[in-house]
């Protein structure tokens, strides 16, 4: 049964949404050029991208030095943010972020940027490939082995941490087709991983040690066998509840409403044919629900990367580390193993965090502050000031009412501005309009 495909107009507004949902928003002019390719070609350009080539200025810290992602505090975050900003393969980066949320591992307890970066490369390598393969790789991944106590899980002292989350969060969903008994038996199947602690180097030499593995008979999902860690993973992927879980979860990153029954069934069918991620993504990105449905709140790092892409600005300050954290998303530090809560990105505090993000993103183009630059360059014209702010941010689609409020603000602020204020106020107002536009509900969502 074929899945529904969006057949409405695919103009710059639709291309803009696609670029936000499947990436980090358009660069200047990108929505228009993508729209001209039509829906199918536009989606394929994302799911089957060309080789990587970086667009824009290379990243550096506040003093102009290159980043040291494996060593310097916060540079891990900046390194990845830079990829999001400069990539030509936005869906690959976006899916890497999806997997980082799906297999949410935090450096708060791993304690090694090097191991976190290695995990990040693993996620990127498998970003659009086989979930089956990805799951095997992540189960044996050093950062994950530390994070969910895999190296503490040995035959005479099983630790349930990974076995539980493998089913609850990674493959089946809480309460879907497994019991507490299965948790304990899976923990036994997963025993055997270990590492060595070296002074000055931390945990090294992650390996499977058969003498730590419980090779006895286990019963998982009612099946009996001397299951190994690979069996443990395979049992989950082939569990009848896995495909429904996978489809629901992957869909939820791209579309805020639930798939209808026909769509759910169709996506499961595609997925069961080899556990490949790419064809499922292609079906989701062409689905009418993505284009006709309601808006989604942009995750904080997507919001940051998108502002920088629209402004054509590269990573030139380490402030993005704490600014993103203030908005609720520090890369490599998800709040817990279930990842970030996409339903709670915005409240009075994280809104203020996004305000600071917009303020910093715009601080290289502030009007009326630099010496020798005449304030009168900004027209004393509310409509023109708002049009200028929109152009600066790449002409994003906004609601008529939002446009009207911004013009009303500019008009009200300029109305009484006579005498010295007639000269001084237009740049102030232009700065404020840019800031208000960047934090408007329209630009917080896509």
């Amino acid at each position: 049964m074929p899945l529904p495909v969006y057949t409405g107009r695919f103009g710059p507004t639709q291309a803009e949404r696609l670029l936000w949902r499947a990436g980090f928003g358009p660069r200047r002019g990108e929505a228009r050029s993508l729209a001209s390719r039509g829906l199918d070609d536009a989606v394929r350009s994302l799911t089957r991208p060309p080789g990587e080539r970086w667009v824009g200025p290379p990243p550096h810290d506040d003093k102009g030095r290159p980043l040291a992602p494996a060593d310097a505090y916060g540079h891990d975050h900046l390194w990845w943010l830079d990829r999001m900003v400069r990539t030509r393969r936005p869906l690959v980066e976006r899916m890497t972020l999806v997997w980082h949320d799906w297999f949410a591992t935090s450096n708060a307890s791993v304690g090694s940027q090097k191991l976190m970066l290695a995990q990040n490369r693993l996620l990127r390598r498998n970003a659009l490939g086989s979930f089956d393969h990805l799951l095997v790789a992540i189960t044996a991944n050093p950062a994950m082995l530390i994070w969910l106590s895999g190296t503490d899980n040995r035959k005479d002292a099983p630790n349930e941490n990974y076995g539980r989350e493998l089913m609850e969060l990674f493959t089946l969903g809480e309460g879907h087709g497994y019991t507490e008994h299965d948790v304990r038996e899976q923990a036994r199947a997963l025993t055997g991983w270990t590492s060595t602690w070296k002074q000055g180097k931390g945990q090294v030499d992650f390996r499977f040690d058969p003498s730590r593995h419980d090779s006895g008979s286990k019963t998982v999902f009612g099946k009996r066998g001397t299951f190994s860690w690979r069996d443990s993973v395979a049992l989950c992927v082939h569990h009848p509840q896995h495909a429904p879980f996978f489809v629901r979860k992957l869909w939820s990153y791209f579309v805020p409403t639930l798939p209808d029954a026909r769509t759910q069934a169709g996506l499961e069918e595609i997925y069961r044919n080899g556990f490949e991620v790419r064809p499922v993504l292609e079906a989701i990105l062409r689905h009418p629900a993505l284009y006709n449905g309601p808006r989604m709140v942009k995750p904080p790092v997507v919001y940051v990367a998108g502002l920088l892409r629209a402004l054509g600005r590269g990573i030139d300050t380490t402030a993005w580390v704490w600014l993103s954290e203030g908005a609720g998303q520090r890369l490599f530090y998800p709040p817990n193993v279930s990842g970030w809560d996409d339903t709670r990105w915005l409240d009075t505090n994280t809104f203020r965090g996004r305000w600071s993000i917009a303020n910093t993103a715009l601080d290289k183009v502030t009007l009326g502050e630099r010496k020798g630059k005449k304030a009168s360059k900004v027209p004393n014209d509310p409509e023109a000031i708002v049009a200028g702010a929109l152009a600066l941010l790449g002409d994003p689609t906004i609601r008529r009412e939002t446009h009207r409020e911004l013009v009303a603000f500019a008009r009200g602020s300029l109305k009484g501005a006579t005498g010295w204020k007639a000269e001084a106020y237009p740049p102030l107002v232009a700065n404020a309009v840019r800031q208000l536009l960047a934090v408007s509900p329209d630009l917080q969502t896509c």
Binding site: N336, R344, L346
Partner: protein
């Protein structure tokens, strides 16, 4: 986080004008004198009036804020306050209150059992001892200001962090319920224009405060809630901040994503006005009459800020925050647990003393909880795996000071080797709602009548 779009602007204005006819809000008579704050009454009143004036000052730009602040400031001083403190990760009940008198304890916990005499004895049951780091709670317990729930949980316990925490947050064993129990309480009794009524002292909203309709707020630190933009100042800046609220009140026409973003903008603009007296130009709004634990951690600072806000008469009602420390102690439990518990207990003691010094202690009840306890038998990594019943506390000058539910006992663990619950969190919530907050629990907690209410107040 949805809020007040159904509440028409004209109705708000009408109500605001009616209120305004009575002159300045009655800030002086209802407000407690801030004992021990080092502020004289005049300074204090000026600060109180600062709140009112900020509201009036804002009215030229944003008429709606006018009556909001008035109603809020006037309503605040008499109301009870509930503070919810979350121990994230599943705190180990058998360490918080250790059954040191039971020989089974050291058999189940050969490495982790606390020795007799390591912490203060528990005066209500000599077979139990406090964790050494909880000595401050033992001290308050000796004063009758702590009630211990040594085995709180629910039937058919779920050992997933996320599911069990969700149950506690929504006040029901229901995975689909999307509003918090305190959020539903605010939806019933709260106001359409006071985000401070439900305050998360956190980077983000605590889910127990998630409402369906009423505005709530999250603030990391009350004195830093400001909106500054480079190259914008003076009256243009004031107008800009007011415009945040106007952008937030554009109808979202049923689009949930837009509604979330709009509510965040609208509530942020309102909160900005409410917190005006706490911004630095007003000086030492956050001076505390007692010392709090020093260091970088946010928890003691947040409690100190909370006491200050209550002292200044801000209209807070239910407050939620997370305790310091990580309680999901699968490995290396002994050290990790002690650090988190110590800072938590030291800070809670300082908070209680602060409230007492300010004469506010009778208005505040603190509830400390965790999503579950941990497995009775330790694991092989010097830690413990997920369990069932856990330990919780009620703290305050008005609490009964007696155990709620007996200690579950190591001799009758459930089939998974976990402690059985001897009290139900939904019964506790019902008692808090009825006896402390004075509302009908049946309207908030699903099937509330099924759960027996413990005696929580003296």
């Amino acid at each position: 986080m949805a809020c007040c779009h159904e509440h028409s602007r004209s109705e708000l204005l009408r109500r605001g004008l009616a209120e305004a006819g009575r002159g300045l809000p009655p800030i002086e008579p209802g407000m407690p004198v801030p004992a021990g704050t080092g502020l004289d009454r005049r300074t204090f009143l000026a600060r109180g009036l600062g709140l009112a004036l900020a509201v009036y000052g804002g009215s030229a730009l944003l008429p709606r804020a006018f009556e909001e602040g008035i109603a809020a400031a006037a309503a605040a001083p008499q109301s009870k306050v509930l503070v919810s403190v979350f121990l994230d990760g599943g705190a180990d009940a058998l360490s918080l209150l250790a059954p040191t008198g039971d020989p089974l304890y050291s058999q189940l916990r050969p490495r982790l059992a606390l020795p007799v005499g390591a912490g203060p004895a528990f005066s209500e049951d000599e077979t139990l001892s406090w964790h050494p780091a909880l000595a401050p709670l033992a001290q308050l317990h000796g004063e009758g200001k702590v009630s211990v729930m040594p085995g709180i949980g629910y039937d058919h316990p779920n050992q997933s962090h996320f599911t069990s925490r969700h149950f506690w947050e929504v006040g029901a064993a229901d995975e689909r319920l999307a509003t918090g129990w305190l959020g539903r309480y605010l939806d019933r009794v709260g106001s359409h224009d006071n985000p401070l009524q439900g305050l998360s002292l956190d980077w983000s909203l605590q889910p127990s405060l998630a409402t369906a309709r009423m505005p709530v707020a999250a603030v990391d630190a009350p004195d830093q809630y400001d909106f500054w933009a480079q190259g914008v100042w003076g009256e243009v800046s004031d107008r800009m901040i007011a415009t945040i609220g106007r952008l937030g009140s554009i109808p979202s026409h049923g689009d949930p994503g837009l509604e979330v973003a709009s509510d965040a903008a609208g509530q942020s603009a309102r909160l900005y006005e409410q917190l005006t007296p706490f911004r630095p130009k007003d000086g030492k709004a956050l001076a505390s009459p007692v010392p709090y634990p020093a260091g970088d951690d946010a928890f003691p600072r947040r409690l100190a800020g909370l006491a200050s806000m209550l002292g200044a008469g801000l209209p807070l009602h239910v407050v939620a925050l997370s305790a310091p420390g990580g309680y999901d102690t699968h490995d290396n439990q002994a050290a990790e647990l002690a650090d988190g518990l110590k800072l938590t207990a030291d800070s809670l003691l300082a908070f209680q003393r602060d409230l007492e010094a300010r004469g506010l202690a009778d208005r505040v009840l603190v509830h400390v909880w965790s999503e579950f306890g941990r497995r009775a038998k330790e694991n092989g990594s010097g830690g413990t795996d997920h369990g069932a019943a856990g330990t919780g506390f009620l703290i305050g000058s008005r609490v009964a000071g007696k155990m709620i539910g007996e200690f579950p006992g190591l001799g009758k663990l459930d089939e998974d080797g976990n402690l059985r619950a001897t009290s139900d969190f939904r019964g506790l919530y019902s008692a808090i709602l009825e006896d402390w907050l004075g509302t009908d629990a049946a309207a908030i907690v699903p099937d509330a009548r099924k759960f027996s209410r413990p005696t929580i107040l003296r």
